[in-house]
């Protein structure tokens, strides 16, 4: 009786979820594997913009793209091509991607991917955080090394920020040049 009453009252107040929101959820789930990396690039781009005192419009002009595209880049929603990444590296003078040597050991690669992409079973990740340090050793590296964001509190020490020219020195683009 009570449920029927609730159902009737709900029916009067109900509207559908928008098609845009449903599509956005589907898009996130289908593109999750690269969204983490795009987010990392976005953060570096925004740091560089702050350092130069540029706004997104100025960056768009320098890149020769629309301000809308730059907006997508800084949101971390853009599936960037290598061409765009190289252009960003050139214009901003920063390194955005580096390719590790082929000879790097498999275990290191696994832990790198774990850290960079959150592309492993995320449940396992969180589970391991709440478990003991011994448990975390199963993930090849200590949890602190793999997921610095979850280091044991308190840890308020900030690493020194790399200067742009130092980072630029490491860029693939610079090496290629």
């Amino acid at each position: 009786m009570a449920i029927n009453n609730l159902k009737e009252k709900l029916a009067k107040n109900l509207i559908s979820r928008s098609a845009e929101d449903i599509a956005a959820e589907k898009w996130r789930s289908e593109n999750w594997h690269w969204l983490g990396k795009s987010g990392d690039i976005a953060m570096n781009v925004m740091d560089a913009l702050d350092d130069y005192g540029w706004n997104q419009k100025q960056l768009a002009a320098k890149l020769g793209v629309s301000p809308q595209q730059v907006s997508k880049i800084v949101k971390g929603h853009e599936n960037l091509t290598l061409s765009t990444i190289c252009k960003l590296e050139e214009v901003l003078g920063i390194a955005l991607i580096t390719i590790p040597d082929y000879t790097v050991q498999t275990e290191q690669l696994v832990s790198d991917n774990f850290h960079r992409n959150f592309d492993l079973d995320i449940d396992l990740w969180f589970q391991s955080i709440s478990e003991t340090q011994e448990k975390s050793s199963e993930l090849f590296l200590s949890l602190e090394e793999v997921v610095p964001a979850y280091s044991e509190p308190p840890k308020n020490k900030k690493p020194a920020k790399k200067k742009i020219h130092e980072v630029a020195g490491e860029s693939n683009y610079a090496l290629a040049a």
Partner: protein, 193 residues
């Protein structure tokens, strides 16, 4: 205000719903999707953490950098979102069990706060700083009113979190006014306590 089914069967009714504060807007926004969209935007998160660097530094789970804080938030949101999707479960009833177990009373001290209880979830992990807020209509029906990144102990210590608290109360008043509560169920709960 209106109610939007997110992962729900409105015929029973059970599952996860969300409040829509501006039903006349197109496309119709709801507070669940609005919060998720806000979180999955690096620009928003970076500004949020930059503005709250003083709170972030006091937080026991503060990572080394704002970049790490953003990454952590992404991962938390992803985990929570995965746990709220019916595709993770065999049936809607299983999702409802998860909701019932994980939406706790807003006030940590109380287990049962009466009909249309303001509730929160941080998902399956207790160390999360992300919160989704909802009104618990009964053990199977939850109406999301919003979400926040809670870096402080008390909700009133940060404007953005306090805004969510006020929103919860506003939505509860609206649901009461519309008679959207399951009085019989609550009578049973009270008798069993």
């Amino acid at each position: 205000m209106k109610i939007v089914p997110i992962f729900a069967d409105e015929q029973i009714p059970k599952g996860l719903f969300a409040i829509c504060l501006n039903p006349n807007e197109i496309p119709t926004p709801n507070e669940y999707d609005k919060f998720i969209k806000w979180v999955y935007d690096n620009q928003n998160l970076r500004s949020f953490f930059k503005e709250r660097e003083h709170l972030l530094k006091k937080n026991p789970y503060f990572p080394n950098t704002i970049k790490d804080a953003v990454k952590r938030t992404f991962a938390e949101m992803r985990l929570l979102e995965q746990h709220l999707k019916p595709s993770k479960y065999n049936s809607l009833a299983d999702l409802c069990n998860f909701l019932n177990d994980n939406f706790k009373a807003l006030d940590n001290q109380s287990n049962y706060g009466g009909e249309l209880q303001p509730s929160k979830t941080r998902g399956p992990n207790n160390n999360c700083w992300i919160r989704i807020y909802a009104i618990r209509v009964n053990s199977e029906m939850f109406i999301v009113t919003g979400g926040a990144i809670k870096l402080v102990l008390e909700m009133n210590e940060d404007d953005i979190v306090d805004h969510e608290r006020r929103k919860l109360l506003r939505v509860r008043d609206y649901l009461k006014q519309e008679g959207m509560y399951d009085a019989e169920t609550y009578k049973e709960i009270i008798l069993n306590l």
